[in-house]
């Protein structure tokens, strides 16, 4: 369907534009808001993929809680625009070409032989609804679920201890 492709291209361009803006901006608050735009457009792409629950929690958890945490810290620390200091040379001369080569290889592979993979269709099926995810999460993935709740508890304790002022 042509409208599916048009929607994917629009949201994909918004995603990439937001990510590029994150790199280009000097002040961290602008980077944080571009990242929120990236997450919102990713939520829309998840809706195109039929993942309604994941799209909703992407907006609620990622864009609405984690990024608010980032924005709070940037507002509180108020460190201002980034200065231009010389970074690590290895990172620049090895890292950037390395990543370009890696991403280029992946993209070339996918463009040439990706046709064999098949395509995603928008269907009226009940895929990705909350009841099925809940069945998986609380039966087959119960142990990882409990472990992540312990992980969150540890993270809360760590953040509270680290955030306290030295008295």
């Amino acid at each position: 369907m042509i409208i599916h492709q048009i929607l994917f291209i629009i949201f994909g361009i918004i995603c990439v534009a937001g990510a590029v803006n994150l790199l280009v901006q000097r002040h961290p608050i602008n980077s944080a808001l571009s990242l929120v735009v990236v997450m919102a457009s990713l939520a829309l792409i998840y809706l195109l993929l039929g993942a309604e629950f994941v799209a909703a929690i992407q907006v609620i958890v990622y864009a609405g809680a984690i990024m608010v945490l980032f924005v709070f810290v940037i507002m509180l620390l108020n460190a201002g625009s980034e200065e231009r200091t010389r970074g690590s040379h290895i990172a620049f001369f090895v890292g950037v070409p390395g990543v370009v080569v890696l991403a280029g290889t992946v993209a070339w592979l996918l463009i040439h032989s990706g046709g064999q993979l098949g395509s995603i269709k928008i269907s009226a099926s009940d895929f990705g609804n909350t009841q099925d995810i809940a069945h998986l999460l609380f039966r087959d993935f119960l142990l990882p679920f409990e472990i992540t709740s312990v992980l969150i508890l540890i993270a809360i304790m760590g953040a509270v201890v680290l955030g306290r002022k030295e008295s």
Binding site: I29, F53, A56, V59, I60, V68, V71, N129, T130
Partner: protein, 360 residues
């Protein structure tokens, strides 16, 4: 229904709902001033039109004609983005709220909900995750408040906005958890599905006359939801961040004219959304007595009347509490949210899930 008819009907529905809502918001300000005035033993607005009914119109004209000042040292982009974001997010949540069943005008049947789709067989489809969309929109609304204070580049605004956004984030948890009891009872996240679960259950009323509204089993959940919603919308008794006697005016200190009006409208639209959600989730939405003798169009509009009555009751409750209670101090407010409401909401979930598992 073919595509062009569908689009035209959708645009008409959006226009009608937004118009009704913005007029309702304007007259909620009138109602608030009248009611708070009567509670304080004075008249409220009486001069502009009979009973002061044209007061919102006068206020609107005043807002439009006021000088729209943008101070020099603000971050211009974020300064303009913040009230627009707050108002847009408030208005988006109206798209998933169902007002009634369906309505048939001139041979076309459409659902009384912006995001509802009727089927040829007579059913209505809704968004499967309507409740999560409202929670998500509330989460993004925090950005409007946070960015308003930060972009104003003034210490009162920054402190006020940090307090307001910390309060909103803290009470979002209690808000979300208080709704889990409803989900356990109804089994669906779609708002229309929750109301229909209550309507279908009411065919066998409890004790012979009580309808299956979820307020009866979930009275604690209702109490938690109401308190968390009051804190989310920054209304008394939780309105410390924007009280006039505290921190000048909080995060909208530097805003004037239309941008301030947008924050004001966003707060009242949030109140309206909370009232709609409370009546949908706890009071059976548009469930009410039906009168079969009426013509079909009026019969389809009667549920909207019951819904409107319930929403009006909640807005009246908001204004009544505003006129009566003092406000919490900030540390009392945060302690209440984290140390009382959150454990109570979790206890509510545990008890509800045990009872649901035991019965079925």
């Amino acid at each position: 229904m073919d595509t062009t008819t569908f689009i035209i009907v959708a645009v008409i529905k959006i226009a009608i709902v937004v118009f009704i809502m913005l007029t309702g918001v304007a007259y909620t300000t009138w109602l608030e001033r009248k009611l708070v005035g009567r509670i304080q033993n004075r008249w409220g607005p009486t001069r502009v039109g009979p009973f002061g009914l044209l007061q919102p119109l006068a206020d609107g004209i005043k807002f439009i004609l006021k000088e729209d000042m943008v101070p020099d040292s603000v971050h211009k982009g974020l300064f303009i983005l913040a009230p627009a974001l707050a108002l847009t997010m408030s208005l988006i949540s109206i798209a998933v709220i169902p007002f009634g069943g369906d309505i048939t005008i001139a041979g076309h049947t459409t659902a009384l909900q912006i995001s509802g789709i009727t089927h040829a067989g007579g059913g209505i489809s809704d968004i499967n995750i309507g409740l999560l969309i409202i929670l998500g929109v509330t989460s993004i609304g925090v950005y409007g408040v946070a960015l308003a204070g930060w972009s104003s580049n003034s210490k009162y605004s920054l402190l006020g906005s940090l307090r307001a956004s910390a309060q909103m984030i803290s009470y979002e948890l209690a808000l979300g958890l208080s709704l889990v009891g409803i989900l356990l009872l109804s089994g669906t996240l779609s708002l229309r599905g929750i109301v229909e679960a209550q309507i279908i259950g009411s065919e066998h009323p409890w004790l012979g006359f009580l309808p299956h509204w979820y307020i009866f089993p979930q009275i604690i959940g209702f109490f938690i939801y109401l308190l968390a919603a009051f804190a989310e919308t920054n209304r008394i008794p939780f309105d410390l961040p924007e009280a006039e006697t505290e921190l000048v005016a909080g995060y909208h200190t530097e805003y004037s004219s239309m941008k301030f009006a947008m924050f004001f409208m966003a707060e009242y639209v949030n109140m309206f959304t909370v009232a709609c959600l409370a009546s949908l989730l706890f009071f059976g939405g548009w469930h009410g007595p039906t009168i079969p003798a009426l013509p079909l169009l009026l019969q389809q509009l009667l549920p909207v009347l019951w819904f409107a009555i319930k929403v009006f009751f909640f807005i009246f409750l908001y204004i009544w509490i505003r006129g009566t209670l003092p406000r919490f101090r900030y540390d009392q407010l945060m302690a209440f949210g984290w140390k009382f409401l959150l454990p109570l909401a979790i206890a509510n979930i545990i008890v509800t899930s045990f009872i649901v598992a035991w019965r079925g």
